[in-house]
């Protein structure tokens, strides 16, 4: 039986879908069988990040309404042999087209076939969030080092715990090391202390994310990208490896100072 992880944040635009795409591709590259579920019904986007938008025939609503078999609706990512699949969101239906129970049994079914089921959650804390969280064993909370994002993440952590999703991890996304150095951005330690959940990784701001989204190729596959390196570390940590919490910054001296900020180096 695989593990279902919901990727969530509360606030929109902090990088949930980017994170889902990169963790999915990263785990598949490490030989795991992964199913990506776009739970943002009505606003389909994960397919774009994966570059699979032209291959979609059926979607999640077709599956839960029984119109099509689950295996027929899964879009295979050809870059990864038989290990990475996407279940697209519906684009025309509204966000209440899937019930919580339907979602729960869908995830259960996927867990039988895959090592990891990653659920890309819509923004907000309404029905779509409740659904995405319903079948999840654990959560990855994505946060930007900014006040509104940290605040919303805190709400989401509370709601996850209240719904018995307990083993939760934090990804600090879009950190700008040079701003942290100037004292103009929340530090890693600040965010971790405020939210008091386990840090899974820190992804630096990287223009290559925009470039890979333009191309439909997850950054995790880009060996020259700092963000890609951060996602590769995150994937190894999810598999239980003890990977040091290094910040992948441009400048070697920043790098060392940031390690000091996280408290992992003296």
């Amino acid at each position: 039986m695989g593990k279902a992880i919901v990727i969530t944040s509360g606030k929109g635009g902090v990088g949930k879908t980017t994170t889902t795409a990169n963790i999915g591709a990263g785990l598949a590259a490490l030989g795991k069988r992964v199913a990506l579920v776009d739970a943002d019904i009505g606003l389909r986007n994960l397919d774009i990040f994966m570059g699979l938008e032209n291959r979609i025939v059926y979607n999640i609503v077709d599956v839960v309404t029984g119109e099509v078999e689950l295996t027929k609706a899964l879009v295979r990512d050809k870059r990864f042999e038989d290990s990475l699949f996407l279940l697209p969101a519906a684009q025309t239906k509204d966000k209440n087209a899937v019930s919580t129970n339907q979602m729960r049994s869908l995830v259960h079914q996927l867990k039988k076939e895959f090592d990891f089921v990653l659920l890309d959650c819509p923004a907000g804390i309404e029905q779509g969030f409740q659904n995405a969280m319903a079948g999840a064993d654990e959560a990855v909370v994505v946060v930007n080092p900014e006040v509104p994002s940290v605040r919303d993440a805190d709400r989401v952590v509370g709601l996850l715990e209240a719904n018995n999703v307990k083993n939760n991890h934090l990804i600090i996304n879009r950190l700008r090391p040079e701003m942290v150095k100037r004292g103009e951005m929340l530090e890693i330690k600040d965010v971790v202390d405020l939210l008091s959940i386990k840090l899974l990784g820190v992804v630096p701001e990287d223009e290559r994310i925009v470039m890979s989204t333009n191309r439909g190729e997850p950054t995790v596959l880009d060996q020259s990208s700092r963000a890609g390196a951060a996602y590769r570390d995150i994937c190894r940590r999810l598999l239980g490896e003890d990977v040091p919490m290094t910040i992948h910054a441009d400048d070697g001296s920043f790098f060392h100072k940031l390690k000091k900020l996280v408290g992992l180096s003296s």
């Binding site: 940290v150 004292g183 929340l186 600040d190 405020l194």
Partner: protein, 93 residues
């Protein structure tokens, strides 16, 4: 907020402000209970207290009061009379 460094004319980055603002905002957010939870809490408190004293249920008030860095539940429970014997079933319901 009282900030010694600002008073001493030392420049403070916006990081420090972000951290301080979040600390306060999160205390408030975490303390807020939904109306459903407040009602549930009210009923439970009423049940327990009613085992010992007869209360005026219409006058029962329970409020969440928040100041800058603290949060407290404030309750006013008017008593009609005190029961003579100990409750038969403790922690009932």
């Amino acid at each position: 907020m009282f900030d010694l460094r600002r008073l001493l004319g030392k420049p403070t980055g916006s990081r420090e402000m972000a951290r301080e603002r979040l600390q306060l905002v999160l205390i408030h957010d975490r303390a807020s209970l939904s109306p459903e939870l407040m009602d549930m809490l009210k009923r439970r408190i009423m049940d327990v207290i009613s085992e010992f004293v007869v209360i005026d249920e219409s006058g029962f008030a329970l409020d969440l009061e928040q100041s800058e860095d603290t949060a407290a539940l404030i309750s006013n429970i008017p008593i009609k009379s005190v029961k003579r014997s100990a409750p038969t079933v403790l922690g009932g319901k």
